[in-house]
């Protein structure tokens, strides 16, 4: 019994030490974001007090230099609509593929599965050229690209789930005179909800954080820069590396993620587990 208590205390000590290790980098960045930019590389671990304290100056420059709030807006727009498009369209496609048994649907299924193992570098050059030719260098164009490149995993996950839905309910609905569209949205989609949440979360995390695709397609020449693109743009020197502004921007970039995380933590963790196990 006593032994048990000791091991409990030891476990807590280990866990708390780990918590400290895990949040140190974040505290470090927050702390330095309030420091004058020249003090950051000189005294990285000192508290921002006295002459080092820069108030919100770094935040102001960071936001101004990168037009940060617009970037958040574009990131949010692209993420929300890409995720919506992915969830709606790929689940429809998956249902179709499972319900219509034909050579071409099997072929489609294998193409989608195949695309899951292809790394982005394989298609990055040709895809960005094609996107340019088709004028997809806008937030709406990005939605199309994310739908296309994200389709593989999402169709795969939905297919796995649709297979488990008994046919009888749908047949009953159709006999009652529902069109396939009505049947799908009234009967099938509600059943798919848990998978839809998983797919939405996995894709939201990917799209929000993705750097290379928006950088190559939207690039630096349009106004539609997303958050990762502006962070890299600020740091890809811009002639004058400003560590203060960078720290502030890192903090600002983390905030939406943390808020999102704490509001739907349960779904996120479940979704990630489900995604990993199926993917």
């Amino acid at each position: 019994m006593k032994n048990n208590k000791v091991s409990k205390v030891l476990t807590y000590i280990a866990l708390i030490a780990l918590v400290i290790l895990f949040i140190t980098p974040i505290i470090f960045v927050v702390m330095n974001s309030f420091k004058g930019k020249l003090f950051i590389s000189d005294q990285p671990f000192a508290l921002p007090k006295g002459e080092m304290f820069a108030g919100t100056a770094n935040y102001v420059t960071g936001i101004e230099k990168t037009d940060f709030f617009h970037a958040v807006g574009y990131s949010a727009f692209i993420t929300v609509f890409s995720v919506l498009a992915i969830v709606v369209f790929t689940s429809m496609t998956a249902w179709y593929i499972v319900r219509v048994k034909a050579k071409f649907t099997t072929a489609l299924y294998f193409m989608f599965v195949f695309s899951m193992i292809v790394p982005f570098q394989m298609i990055m050059f040709t895809m960005s050229k094609l996107a340019d030719i088709l004028h997809l260098n806008s937030p709406i164009g990005m939605v199309v690209l994310y739908l296309g490149f994200g389709a593989g995993l999402s169709v795969f996950m939905f297919c796995g789930f649709v297979k488990a839905i008994p046919l009888e309910i749908e047949e009953a609905a159709m006999i009652d005179g529902c069109t396939p569209i009505q049947t799908y949205f009234k009967i099938v989609f509600p059943i798919l909800k848990p998978t839809a949440i998983t797919v939405a979360i996995l894709n939201a995390m990917w799209v929000w954080n993705d750097y290379l695709l928006p950088y190559l397609v939207i690039g630096v020449s349009t106004k539609y820069k997303t958050v990762p693109v502006v962070v890299q743009y600020l740091m890809g020197s811009y002639g004058s590396k400003d560590y203060g502004a960078l720290m502030a921007l890192l903090v600002l970039a983390i905030i939406p993620i943390v808020v999102f995380y704490f509001t739907c933590q349960k779904h996120i963790i479940e979704g990630v587990v489900a995604g990993a196990v199926k993917g």
Binding site: K129, S138, P190, G236, Y238, K241
Partner: protein, 447 residues
Amino acid sequence: MKRNKLLAVALSTAMVAGALTGCGGGSEEAKKDDSKGSVYYLNFKPEVAEVWEEVAKKYTEETGVDVKVVTAASGNYESTLKSEIAKTDAPTLFQINGPIGYQSWKDYCADLSDTDFYKSLSDQSLAIKGEDGGVYGVPYTIEGYGIIYNDEIMQKYFATSGAKAATTDEINSFDKLKEVVEDMQSKKDELGIEGVFASTSLLPGEDWRWQTHLADLPIYAEYNAKDVDDLDTIEFTYNDKYKNIFDLYIENSCTEPTMLGSKGVNDSMAEFALGKVAMVQNGNWAWGQISETQGNVVKEENIKFMPIYCGLDDEANQGLCIGTENYFAINSKASEASQKASVDFVNWLISSETGKDYMTNKLGNNAPFTTFSDSEKPSDPLAQDMLGSMESGKTSIPWVFTTFPSQTFKDNFGAALLEYAQGTKTWEDVVSYVNEQWATEKAAVAE
């Protein structure tokens, strides 16, 4: 409840579908001014990025023509231009850095011989001409670089006992410079500085002062000795001269050589502006960075230039390194209207009152056009000192680095310098690496 959700899904589907079909319409919008053309300038100088934005806004206000300015990150101009120019909305106005730049971009360079801005060049031989006799690049500024020093600190030093020189004029050779610098470094506490030289910034992308500007001197000497103006392979004959000055920079600095990989140009300029160091190698364009540093303690009249003495022949007559790597070029693949709009934009920059004011006073350009009178030269201390040096009869060193093979060459050179500074590569290895890289990159570009 369920019904509501269904409705929401249906609605959002409709929205997305609408958005998808609307995407063709979205790009039409950007093209509505096709008849008028629009300007897209890909700017090379990050330090004046904001000024260019202002110029663009002003021009659009005055003429109604859209001007978009995009600034490439430092050290990324070539790669940004490469990806941008292949796009359908490509830059209409960009810059090439000299003959090498022209070779890479000649498929995109329009002939400028009929433009007003070419005709008003004060010296038309400055422009870049193709083999067919056409004009493909027109310089818009003449610049100079050297060692910038803080005269207040120098005077303080000259007053110390046992000073190795009494005036800055006495410093006119590498040997003298070395003697003075080393003595100053040993008296740094007395002088109230942290080191003689500002950080030799070797952060990748921030190392152009060394792999491009400083390297100009030994390569120029090599060209001179061989009586050529370009080479497919170099011997780096004067690498010892380069090493002379580079060692002096890193050994007598406010920053440990092993920490140089974390420093950017801005850090160096801030150290100078805050009076922590007495000298920094840079050009007249750096004035903005010095004057804008918060807590700046250096007085305007104390900021001066001296040539980069590294032990070449006839140093007594050596002047600053003067030249340009900034040539406007117009994209021949852009629409007629946009090409014309870009020509008009440049004409406006060099002839209208507003344009000229921006060019000289805000962009700090020493513009080589007859439309600028003598009073319309930049008035900052570095530009003034540079103009003085050009007229003093000393021999300016031309910018031959415009013949350096490629950005990759420069980046690799910079990386090797960093390793040398940190003590992880020997100087011999740097030299042979530079020679090898020069040859491969020249061959790759020629292909």
